[in-house]
Symmetry: D2
Subunit: 155 residues, 4 copies
């Protein structure tokens, strides 16, 4: 699995103890006929983790960004290594770390664990966009400040 592009490297490195953590409860409908979490559903669940992290760790209301402020939080890149299957009834602890803060985008890494067992590592490049033009815009000041603060606190 180290054979090329597309995979987070060193994904088994542990996130900081000071990283914010959210919990995802795996439900019946998250699973597929193979009896495990459907990979596309993971991306949806992790977007929910990002939403909660915005509010709870950054102090910024995700829905207010999209709604009243009309700032999109789009994905330029999304990827994940799936280390172990997830099952109905699992409770996954998801730790969010900020890997990079750019001009118009930032990169998050999410490590999901079942107890202490690594289940997946995802990496998202999120771009701030105008919801009128669907083009990228500079990170809003409050978001940039919050990301910097969070990143520093995690070190």
């Amino acid at each position: 699995m180290n054979d090329g592009p597309g995979q987070p490297q060193g994904t088994l490195a542990m996130p900081s103890d000071r990283a914010w953590r959210g919990t995802v409860a795996i439900r019946f409908s998250h699973c597929d006929p193979a009896g495990i979490v459907y990979f596309a559903r993971y991306f949806d669940l992790l977007n929910g983790v990002v939403e909660d992290w915005f509010g709870e760790a950054l102090g910024i209301d995700y829905h207010e960004m999209i709604g009243p402020r009309r700032i999109g939080l789009g994905y330029a890149n999304a990827g994940a290594d799936f280390h172990r299957p997830g099952f109905m009834g699992d409770r996954l602890d998801c730790a969010v770390t900020v890997e990079r803060i750019g001009q118009k985008s930032f990169t998050l890494r999410i490590h999901a664990f079942r107890m202490s067992e690594p289940v997946l590592v995802a990496r998202f490049v999120i771009v701030t966009t105008s919801l009128e033009s669907h083009t990228s815009i500079a990170l809003p000041d409050d978001l940039r400040a919050a990301l910097e603060r969070y990143q520093e606190n995690c070190q």
Copy 2:
């Protein structure tokens, strides 16, 4: 976007003209409140492309693999670069190429275009598994042969 792991590299390289292509029609329900295709839904739609490609290009029934044969086609890694937003009513042409054939897994690349415009490039590492034990197993012979034939035909 060349700044690290997690991104397909050289993703704008064109797929072979001989690659199989499927079409995805973007519907209302594929889109989010930002008015564009929700990124997690793309992964779901692309799994549908893989299903169709199995049947039409490889000559192997995807559902029969999962069902009667009890062989899982799980994701060890999934990632995508999203180059342009997708909108309701778009019809995306999705070209599938085989990038790697391993012992227990293979890697696909899917380029999606709206007319000639690149919309996304995805890369999937798919592992064959036993649906009893959820552990990886060697690629079944018919699948390996079909992948090799397809890969060769695309060159």
Copy 3:
């Protein structure tokens, strides 16, 4: 199942031969750990049938209604009787009939068959709304005319 409110009655009555029919291919991701189509996914798939029916039978672009025209097609009521489970690989023929045309809403019935076998019958009360205020508005003239024409042609 005739024991109360909430169920379409007489749902096994056959739709008119002149009703428009769309096809839904059941995929891996439409199914749940019980190995059959997940009931919520059916509602999503049937919304896709309604989209196609708009364009092909009514001659009205569903996405243009929602997008440029800013007219919502919301659900005041949605319900279905599930007669038989759906499985991966099924191809369901879905016949759409117009049951009622009101001032601000209309009622559709969709019968889905696997070959000649009834799989489900759904009934949708769809309300036209302003996407600014999210309140109901009168059916646009072109939509009303198309619904009336369709209803008449099916008799």
Copy 4:
């Protein structure tokens, strides 16, 4: 809306104060390009409410039913009246009541409120099935007893 079959009647009647209540947080991905909760997603979210209610109110593990016990909890009928649109950031209180306990099925009603405002009322006819044969089976004794106890406690 009292004009025929398919609609829960008297849906604005309040559920018992003793009914179990679960909370659903409305996320970005639950909403559609119209900016409101996508109707099919409601059915998915309500299935999650039923899962939680099984564990917390009935004392029966939903996932254990489906998994180790191989008893399906399928939908013979599902329907909802949508009274008001749901928006990102809403928190819906969902009260579950048992309307009917049959031989091989039972009927639930779920009232969802945003604060005291009714948002939707759903009605589900859930059938217990064998996951081997996908045919209905008698309600298991523990489930029947728990449903009766719950129904009685709510009166």
